[in-house]
Symmetry: C2
Subunit: 224 residues, 2 copies
DNA sequence: TCCGTTTTGTGACTATGTCACCGTCGGGAC
DNA sequence: GTCCCGACGGTGACATAGTCACAAAACGGA
């Protein structure tokens, strides 16, 4: 038996053979280039996406034209927001944008519905994904309301840094990630730089003192 | 055929006769007194609740001990947060508290799972409830990030007022509703009072100028 | 009535968001 | 090359919101 994408998803590995077969034959692997809009408000989707590679950022456009970052879908996770809207035949209010080149499994509505009906394991997978997303939103809200901006920025920088300790993002991008203003990011990161925790150049932040950032994060009982 | 609670729920009215029967026999109507904690973090629930009467407030305790209001479940809605955790066997991180005396239908895990498997209509009902909750959270986040506190307070007062234009809530309660500090509510409502929009007494706000409040809300393109 | 608790009010201060504007950088057009 | 434009980052001044400390007022029992 050859290696299947199904094994990349923890919750799906226990699927019975016939369900696996149905899932594989009833779905399709798709590739999407970085920057593509995967879903948009007012446009109802007909597929549930399971990410194999890359990341998708989900954000919402405010009435005022500004944007808030909501969450990021990583490889091995599902873009569950679409599910609700798929089955509920409702439109969603958020944008989904491929941050990197993305490959994903697209499960069309009919297959999805079928599997939810037939397989308890698949149901649990779906509900677990929901649960995860909702609790993520809860912590986001908590964070926005109670956490200081410097702590949140430090935390985010640690999260976004690649193996070389570099974050490729403009201040403006970081600002929408945190739901704050660009100026605030500028000021806060100047302060970080002054303390020797980071070095900055155009569109890029290099972490030179992870420990300092980490200490700041930890000092406020944050969850990271 | 006698009147059933099922008809109080839009999405369930189209259930086929056998599913209706199964739902009715497999569930139970429960009553809960105001103030009761319906669910709590770290305590996994075995029932999906559909509210028949009353309201439930869902809020999260922060690490710092403070609380954020997340959303309110009204009659005719389901307390869908429990669902995810029920099926995903995960604990949730939020509190649910009966704000008023509540009567609700409790659907145990087994019945729920059964119905999700069997009935497409029931599935759609569940996913629609999710969808609703998630988009609510999105607008909440949007609101917290972009909307001014005075606008949000005005909006909330209009929402919470009963037929006599009275809101029964202390400043502290209003503060957690908005995810802000009590002092801010005090100051803002003093300002509203100065403008003749409200009158205050201990634990109670009387709206005397709805139009003023409404104008403030409308003036900032808010959704109300 | 007296006392303790809850609710509300307020000043001073810090943190964050907004606005206006400028300097810098980098990449084409020429 | 150099000119120019647009994107990016920095900064001061000010408005709004959150925090802290503390006090006054309202209520409810003993």
């Amino acid at each position: 038996m050859k290696e299947s994408w199904i094994d990349s998803f923890e919750g799906l590995s226990r699927l019975s053979a016939d369900i696996r077969a149905e899932l594989e034959s009833g779905s399709q692997i798709v590739s999407v280039r970085a920057g593509t809009q995967i879903f948009a408000p007012g446009q109802s989707s007909d597929n549930l996406l399971l990410l194999l590679e890359g990341t998708v950022r989900v954000q919402q456009k405010s009435d005022t034209g500004r944007e808030v970052f909501l969450y990021r879908v990583h490889a091995g996770e599902s873009c569950v927001l679409t599910t609700a809207c798929m089955l509920a035949h409702e439109d969603y209010s958020a944008d989904g944008i491929a941050e990197t080149d993305v490959s994903a499994v697209a499960i069309p509505r009919t297959t999805f519905d079928e599997l939810v009906a037939k397989s308890k394991t698949f149901r649990e997978f779906v509900f677990a994904a929901y649960s995860r997303r909702i609790t993520d939103l809860f912590t986001l809200i908590d964070d926005i309301v109670f956490q200081r901006v410097d702590v949140r920025l430090a935390s985010r920088l640690l999260e976004l840094a690649n193996q070389d300790d570099v974050v490729n993002a403009t201040h403006a991008v970081l600002a929408t990630e945190l739901g704050t203003a660009r100026e605030v990011v500028s000021r806060t990161s100047s302060e970080f730089q002054r303390r020797g925790w980071i070095e900055q150049s155009r569109g890029e932040v290099r972490l030179t003192g992870r420990s300092g950032l980490a200490r700041l994060v930890k000092s406020s009982g944050g969850q990271g």
